[in-house]
Symmetry: C2
Subunit: 396 residues, 2 copies
C-alpha cells in the first residue's frame, strides 16, 4: 500500500536507528552523564555570541516573515556572494547564490536539477551515506569508488568509473568521516581529468562540492576552491557546523559563473528548490546569517579536543590519521572488525559509528563535537577496550 522502496529502506536503515535507540536506553539506565555519545555530528558547542545578538535584532522586526523570491532575499545572496568572492579567485554575484534548507536541501536541489533517469553520481569512499538516498530520490544512483589509503581521492579510480551515465562527481572536503582535506594538486588533477572525460563522453560532468566543514580546519591548512579549479562546479554548504545551528536548516549553493549555460542552470535549480517543497530557505535565518559572513565558533576549542583525543587514542594503541578538519576521527578497527569494536565500546557506554556506515568497513568514527567532560569521561573506556583487544600501547 505504501512505497515498497521506502519499506525496504526502513529495513536497511534500521541499524542506525537501533544504535540511536540503544543510546537512548543506555542514557536512561545509567544517566546521560555516564554515556559517552560520539555517534552524531550534532555540535554541543553553543553558537558564537554574535549569532544570538543578530538573531534577536532580526526577530524583533515584525514584518519580515513573508515569501521572498524562491532563491532567497537578493541582499542576503549579495552578502554571501561577497564573502565567497573574498575567499577565492572566482568572483560570485548575488544571482549566482541560492539560499537553501541546509546542505541537505542544497544537494537535493542540485541533484534533482542534474539527474536524468539512471544517471550515476560518483563519490569517494569513505563518505556521508545520505548521498545514496539523495541520488535515489531523483532517479539517480550513487556510484562509490575507493579512495586512497590516506583517504585522499584516487583520481585514477574515479576516472575508471566514469561512463556516459555519469552526471556528476560529488566530493566532501574536509571529509566526513575521515577529516581529510583534499590538497590543491588533487583538486587540480580531478578538474583536468573531468575536463578531458567530459569531452570524451560528450557530456558535462559536474563537480559538486559539499563543504559544510570548510571553516573547521586546523594547523593553518587551507581548503582549496573547486571553483578556481573547474568551471562546471557547484558548491553546496550550510551554517550547521560552523555556527553550531544544525537544527535551523540554513545553507546555500552557488554555481560557478563559468559553468556552461549557467543562467539556465541557476533558473532550473531555483525551480527545483521550489517544487521539492523547500520553497525558500527560512526568512529569519537568511537575514541572520547574512550578518555573520566569515563568523564561526571558536575552532581552537575543537583543536584542543582533537589534540587531547589524538594523544590519548595513540597512547592506548589506536591507529588513525589525525584529522586536518571536521570534528571526526576515523580510527582503524582492530583486525578490520568495525562491529566488534563498536560493540566493545558500547559495553563501556561509548557510542561510535562503525565504518560500514560510511561504506568503509575496518574503521569507526568518533564525532568529537562533544563537551570536554564526555571526552574525559570516555578515556578509561577507550583504554580498557584497547587492552581487551590487545592493542600495543605507545610510549608507555
Amino acid at each position: 500500500m505504501v512505497s515498497e522502496k521506502i519499506r525496504s529502506m526502513m529495513d536497511s536503515s534500521s541499524f542506525i536507528r537501533k544504535m540511536f535507540e540503544t543510546g537512548a536506553k543506555l542514557k536512561q539506565e545509567f544517566g546521560e552523564e555516564n554515556v559517552y555519545d560520539f555517534s552524531l555530528g550534532n555540535p554541543a558547542m553553543d553558537p558564537p555570541e554574535n549569532f544570538t545578538k543578530v538573531l534577536l535584532e532580526k526577530a524583533a522586526d515584525h514584518h519580515m516573515h513573508r515569501y521572498m523570491p524562491n532563491a532567497g532575499y537578493l541582499d542576503v545572496r549579495g552578502k554571501v556572494a561577497e564573502y565567497i568572492s573574498s575567499e577565492q579567485q572566482t568572483v560570485i554575484q548575488a544571482n549566482n547564490v541560492v539560499m537553501t534548507s541546509g546542505a541537505g536541501g542544497a544537494l537535493n536541489t542540485v541533484l534533482k536539477t542534474l539527474i536524468n533517469p539512471g544517471d550515476k553520481i560518483i563519490a569517494s569512499i569513505p563518505c556521508f551515506m545520505e548521498y545514496k538516498f539523495y541520488c535515489d530520490n531523483h532517479g539517480g544512483e550513487l556510484d562509490l569508488v575507493e579512495g586512497q589509503a590516506n583517504f585522499n581521492l584516487d583520481i585514477k579510480k574515479i576516472e575508471q568509473a566514469i561512463t556516459k551515465k555519469t552526471a556528476a562527481v560529488i566530493i566532501n572536503s574536509p571529509n566526513n568521516p575521515s577529516g581529510r582535506i583534499y590538497p590543491e594538486e588533487t583538486i587540480n588533477s580531478l578538474a583536468s581529468m573531468l575536463t578531458s572525460k567530459s569531452k570524451e563522453i560528450g557530456r558535462t560532468i559536474y563537480l559538486i562540492s559539499d563543504e559544510p566543514y570548510r571553516k573547521i580546519v586546523y594547523d593553518g591548512i587551507k581548503v582549496p576552491s573547486v571553483m578556481d579549479a573547474y568551471k562546471n562546479s557547484i558548491v553546496c554548504t550550510s551554517y550547521s557546523k560552523d555556527l553550531s545551528i544544525p537544527g535551523e536548516r540554513i545553507g546555500w549553493l552557488t554555481v560557478n559563473p563559468e559553468a556552461e549555460d549557467y543562467i539556465s542552470l541557476i533558473n532550473r535549480i531555483v525551480l527545483c528548490n521550489r517544487i521539492l517543497g523547500y520553497v525558500n530557505a527560512t526568512a529569519l535565518m537568511q537575514r541572520t546569517v547574512a550578518e555573520l559572513q566569515g563568523v564561526s565558533v571558536d575552532i581552537e576549542l575543537y583543536r584542543k579536543k582533537r589534540d587531547l583525543l589524538a594523544k590519548k587514542l595513540a597512547e592506548f594503541g589506536y591507529k588513525f590519521k589525525k584529522p586536518q578538519g571536521t570534528f571526526y576521527f576515523f580510527v582503524e578497527a582492530h583486525e578490520g572488525d568495525d562491529m566488534r569494536i563498536v560493540d566493545l565500546l558500547k559495553e563501556e557506554r561509548i557510542l561510535v559509528v562503525p565504518g560500514r556506515g560510511f561504506s568503509l568497513h575496518g574503521y569507526f568514527r568518533i564525532a568529537y563535537c562533544v563537551k570536554d567532560s564526555v571526552i574525559e569521561g570516555s578515556l578509561a573506556g577507550f583504554k580498557r577496550t584497547a587492552e581487551k583487544l590487545g592493542l600495543k600501547q605507545d610510549n608507555k
Copy 2:
C-alpha cells in the same frame, strides 16, 4: 547535460515567471503603490503580536539550535497533538505528529512515503497546481478530476477515476483557489466511497488533506475533520497563512492513529522527511509555534476585505461564488476567456492569476491577502475592465 524533465518544466512554468516579471516591471515603471498585485497568496498582514513576543523569548535561548529527532521536538509535537485533539473527535498523540518544513514539505514527505512508480494521486479541479510537481517528484502522477459547478467535490467523478494505480486522493478545503469548504456530508460520502473502493481494488487508498487555510474561514462555517470521517487519512498543514509567516516554512503532518499499520507509516514518513533533505523542521520555529496553538491573525480583517471586494465586484457585474474561507476569489472570466481578462486587468496594473493556473480555464483568481489600499486602488480598474467587457452592472 541536465535533467531533461526539469528543462521542459522550465518551459511550461515560464508562464507564471513571465507574470512575475511583468509585475516587477510594472512596479518599477509606475511605482509599487500604483500596481495592484493580487497574484500571490503572500499575506501582507503582519503576524499576530504574540508571535514576535514568543519568537524573541525562544530566540534568546542560546542553546536551542541543535539537531533534534527528525520528527521534531517531542514536547512541541505534544502541544500540536493536544490542539488537534481539541478540534476533533479523533485523539492524536505526540508521536502521531511530524513537524515539517511547511505544508509543501509535509506533502512531499507523505507522497514519497506512499507512491510506488506509476501510482496516481487524484485531486479535484480547481486546485493548487504544485501538487503536479509534488507527485512527479516521487514517481507518481497527478490525476485531475472535475469538481461540481459550485466547486464542491464530485464524489462520483472521483470514484470513476479510481484504478488499482490510485495511491491517494488529495483534497484542499478551504480550497485554493475557489474558497470552497467541502461540507461534512461530502467528506462523509468521500470516506465511504474510499472505504468501499479500497476493498474493491485491494489496496488502501489514503486521503491526504491539505489544510493550510483551516483557520481562515468566515460566517461561522466549520471545516469538518477528515480524521473523524476516514481512518486512512493524513493531514498536512502549515502556519504560513494563519500566522502570516510563509517565509518561515513551518508546518506539520499527522497520521490518523486508526490508519492501517500506522506506526510503520509514521516511521517511514519520518525517514522520508530526513532523506528528502528537510532533516527536521527548523528548531526555533518549532519552539515558537508550539506556544501559539489556536492563535491566528485577525480573520475579521480578511472578512472585511472579502466583503468589500464581493460588494464591488458584484456591482461591476463580475460573477463569482463568495468564498467561505481562504483569501481568494475565483471569478468567472467573461466568455470563459481567462487570458483575455488577465491581460485587460494588467492594462489597469491589476495582477491576477488565470484559471488555467489551477487547471480550470474560464476563471481568474484574486488573492486578497493585500493591504486595503491595494483593494481600494484597484476598484476603478476592475470597473473599467467590466465596462470594456460589457458586463451587466448590478443594482446601479
